[in-house]
């Protein structure tokens, strides 16, 4: 199997499954039947696509399972069974299983067969037994279906109740139902033919194209049988046979065949359009088919028709008696409505014209000529179809691109530093100026390049948010609560790495909100609230940050309970507790092993989740705030920088060393006079306008010997409402820094969020403002911190 085909399948199916999962949850909650119908169709389409691709790649386990799920879904789609929780459980589980199979395949393993019990449940559903179905379904049908080696054929040739008349297509209602999908399959296959047929005329690609053509035709034959149109089936059968013989045919014959295959494609396209409208077209195809077969068999062709079509598809069809006269041609041409097919047709005829010219020229010119012409036409044809809007790029490539940009930024910094120094050197002023201009341009371009590259890594939060309705649904099911999840602002874009780091924390918070926040329906009712609790997940940009907030209208946090627990755990003392603000008491829930739940359940209560939240958000340089009112609900607010890799920073000097402070956390920089610095219960503070600003002596925190003179700077930093002034010795300047991890166990203890490389190649540590603020209050902490 072609690994790239498999890779495409895995990527695509992964996305489809995610969509399926989302749609299924939405389906369960759908208000109107139209909406439900649409979602149903979407789910069905997703499963059908996965099934089709899997069967093409010979992935029997996936095909079988997807087929079973598809059958069940089909019943649902037709409204023959209702959307009940049992049905949805089965379908959601199926989505999980297919996802599991795809994961297995991604990991390079064979996909395991789906659990037989679930398959049987699905079959039972497909047969309309909803309630008592369970795992004990009729064994004969399930085994028959599960064992079917070619489920694709299975659903195309169901003989039951198909003979009922009533539509021009004379298809049973069951088939009519599937018509749309089969037509899509037919069109896809036909498009594949169109794409491949040009490759036939080139010796280099002939073999490959011919093999592919056989595959496509073979697949299409099965699809065609579905429609029970003898003409269509036999036409495609002829195509299959002909394709199989292409390798032996002469060059000249192939060109004759290729034009006929194109003609057949045009016919199939028209048929597909008609079928979509429940009409069936009919042509006298005997001559066409027999001539084509004969051509393929021995390359012979009626001298009267040879070359008469002048490479024109329509002319050929007239010639073979398939269609009549000019008027007819015009009207059939009009049925080609879609953009792509019309582009293809024009491509075909343009190539046909070229082909005609070469035909004429062939007698006198070299053999290489027609190939060249064909290529030209091919290029022209390629230029015409609608351009692709997106391309898939491996993440590793983006990573290395970002890495390079990071190095470039450092290099640019170095060039800028050189430029500043150049003025002191004995260099002609003009040259120095030119140099400085060039450096300025470089600076400008670098920032643009940086922004563009960062933008390639931005992804909408929808990628995460769309998973959560399922999480909430499962939570609600397990706890017997009624919970409604509202999502706002899922189009907000963040860096890919931010997105990944956010995934787990959000799940934990949502679980917490639904398990501990939202109350049981009866309790809510007593409290005068609506029975259904609401959890609101919203995201928005705030400057260079993204704000994600999760709000529930549940019970709220209890300061008393949390405080007692914190004292019990030794996190604080009763005296200190009294002085703490509500927010600070609430923040105890982020401590590791902190849980007020009486019982540890499957869902939560181990006290691990919130610790994960804090750790991950810290990694992202973000902050968390909790607001809660007892009885009214809780809001957990997360603020994180948009990107994490490159950012502007202020470089400051403390002692002989320099450190970087992320610019986004700096509010202002002041220069306090020594007499302005006061002491409140042992902690240095200063009065800044009307607030009392706590100060952090960075010399002390960074183990530098204290100095006396007061000519120092206070860099005021703020995280989530909290402000402190970091006292540093010098300000070096503003710089773009590229964040490198400082994650070795040896270097983790200090108040640093990472390191960066300076202009001269030296390492400069980045101060972790959050940690500095958090550990500010108790001074004894700073010593014991390293040991902890």
């Amino acid at each position: 199997m072609d690994p790239s085909l498999l890779q495409d399948f895995l990527t695509e199916s992964g996305e489809l499954i995610e969509q399926l999962d989302t749609d299924l949850v939405r389906l369960e909650a759908a208000d109107s039947s139209e909406e439900a119908q649409e979602l149903c169709n979407g789910c069905f389409r997703a499963l059908h696509t996965i099934k089709g691709a899997a069967s093409f790649l010979g992935l029997t386990a996936v095909t079988t399972f997807a087929h079973a799920a598809e059958d069940a879904l089909n019943k649902l789609r037709k409204g023959e069974i209702d959307v009940t929780e049992e049905v949805m459980d089965a379908l959601l589980q199926s989505a999980d299983i297919v996802k599991g199979m795809i994961d297995e395949l991604s990991a390079g393993e064979e996909a395991q067969d789906g659990p037989q019990g679930l398959i049987e449940t699905l079959h039972a559903l497909a047969e309309g037994k909803t309630q008592e179905a369970g795992a004990t379904s009729t064994p004969d049908t399930s085994s028959e279906n599960a064992a079917a080696p070619e489920p694709e054929a299975d659903d195309t040739t169901q003989p039951d109740d198909t003979d009922k008349p009533g539509t021009p297509l004379s298809l049973g209602p069951q088939k009519l139902d599937l018509l749309e999908f089969m037509v899509t399959d037919l069109k896809d296959a036909s498009k594949n033919i169109g794409d491949t047929v040009d490759g036939l005329c080139n010796d280099a690609t002939l073999e490959e194209s011919a093999t592919f053509l056989v595959e496509v035709c073979d697949e299409m034959e099965k699809t065609a049988e579905f429609f029970e149109l003898d003409e269509l089936t036999s036409l495609i059968k002829v195509l299959t046979t002909v394709s199989g013989k292409l390798n032996e045919a002469s060059h000249e014959t192939i060109e004759e065949i290729a034009i006929r295959i194109k003609a057949a494609k045009v016919l199939i396209d028209q048929q597909a359009e008609a079928l979509n409208d429940l009409r069936a077209l009919s042509w006298p195809l005997e001559t066409f088919c027999s001539r084509l077969t004969k051509l393929a068999e021995d390359g012979s062709i009626d001298p009267q028709v040879k070359g008469q079509h002048n490479g024109d598809v329509q002319a050929l069809l007239v010639l073979d008696g398939v269609i009549e006269a000019q008027a007819e041609v015009a009207s059939t041409a009009q049925t080609q409505e879609t953009l792509s097919s019309s582009a293809e047709t024009s491509a075909v005829s343009s190539q046909a014209t070229e082909a005609k010219q070469t035909d004429d020229a062939e007698e006198s010119k070299a053999v290489g000529e027609p190939e060249k012409e064909t290529e030209k036409a091919g290029a022209r044809a390629q230029a015409k179809p609608v351009a692709e809007q997106t391309i898939r790029v491996e993440v590793s490539r983006l990573e290395s691109l970002l890495n390079l940009v990071g190095q470039l930024v450092l290099n640019k910094n170095r060039v800028l530093a050189l430029t500043r120094n150049i003025k002191d050197q004995a260099i002609p002023a003009e040259m120095a100026e030119d140099f400085s201009d060039a450096a300025g341009d470089l600076d400008h371009l670098m920032s643009e390049l940086q922004v563009s590259v960062m933008r390639t890594r931005m992804q909408p939060l929808a990628k995460l948010f769309d998973r959560y309705p399922r999480v909430i649904r499962d939570m609600a099911r397990m706890t017997d609560k009624k919970i409604n999840l509202e999502i706002v602002g899922k189009d907000t874009e963040v860096d890919k790495s931010v997105l990944e780091q956010l995934a787990d924390p959000l799940v934990h918070i949502l679980r917490n909100s639904s398990d501990h926040g939202v109350e049981m329906p009866d309790i809510r009712k007593k409290a005068g609230k609506e029975e259904t609790g609401t959890i609101r997940l919203e995201a928005e940009h705030q400057g260079s940050h993204v704000r994600v907030a999760i709000t529930d209208d549940g019970n709220g946090l209890d300061r008393g309970v949390l405080g007692n627990k914190a004292v019990e755990k030794g996190l604080t003392t009763p005296e200190k507790l009294e002085q703490l603000a509500d927010e600070d008491v609430f923040a105890f829930i982020f401590a590791a092993g902190f849980s007020t739940a009486q019982q540890v359940s499957d869902l939560s209560g181990r006290g691990v989740g919130m610790d994960v939240v804090r750790t991950n958000i810290n990694k992202l340089n973000g902050t968390i705030n909790i607001f809660s009112k007892k009885g009214q609900g809780t809001t957990i607010e997360i603020l994180i920088p948009l990107t994490v890799a490159i950012m502007p920073a202020m470089v400051v000097g403390v002692g002989d060393h320099v450190y970087s402070i992320p610019l986004q956390s700096i509010v202002e920089i002041v220069r306090p006079e020594p007499e302005e610095v006061k002491s409140v219960s042992g902690h240095p503070v200063m009065k800044l306008r009307d607030i009392v600003l706590p100060l952090v002596d960075m010399r002390e925190r960074l183990n530098e010997p204290p100095i006396e003179d007061g000519g120092r700077f206070a860099v005021v930093v703020a995280i989530g409402g909290q402000r402190v002034g970091l006292c540093v010795d010098r300000l070096v300047g503003q710089q773009e820094i590229v964040i490198k991890p400082l994650d070795d166990t040896y270097t983790q203890g200090g108040p640093f969020s990472g390191a960066t490389i300076q202009e001269d190649g030296e390492v400069c540590l980045i101060l972790d403002v959050i940690q500095l603020i958090r550990n500010n209050a108790p001074t004894s902490n700073s010593e014991s911190k390293a040991a902890a």
Binding site: R701, D744, T745, Y746, G749, G761, V763, A786, A787
Partner: protein, 177 residues
Amino acid sequence: MTTETQAQSTEEINSAIDKASADSELLQLVSFEVGEEEYAVPILSVQEINRMMQITRVPQSPPFVEGVINLRGKIIPVIDLRKRFGLAELENSDDVRIIVVEIASRVIGFTVDRVNEVLRINSSIVEPPPAMVSGSDTDYVQGVGKLEDRLLILLSLDKLFTADEIAEIEHSGSQAA
């Protein structure tokens, strides 16, 4: 988990030594000096050997951590082996080198007084560390190679740089303080 893998890898090394002695295989080592002693590590674990470069101090890291260096864009910690072995600081000499090693996907540099040579010794001349020096603090000594005119101390890098030991050292350090 980590201790397990570490134990496993030492076992592997030990068994590798056993096997080597049985087959009397050659060990390829890099030898260097720290203080008065000569040490050696397997050449395969050595990524590169650099001259002294600018080291950035990392406040609040363990005392024997000299700081971090920029190794072609990657930030790696550098350990002062003198401090790790409890020796007095050396006045900077031109012979000081940073040996960069990779242990369990962790890249670490350490400073040594000088690098001597790359040598091959027969594994049969390596003996287990004498009981007197084998204690909890010196279990990074994996064996002693008896050369004709000198002794070579074979170091187990993963024991030398395990996280557990750091915690222990720090703990005892902070207790003392």
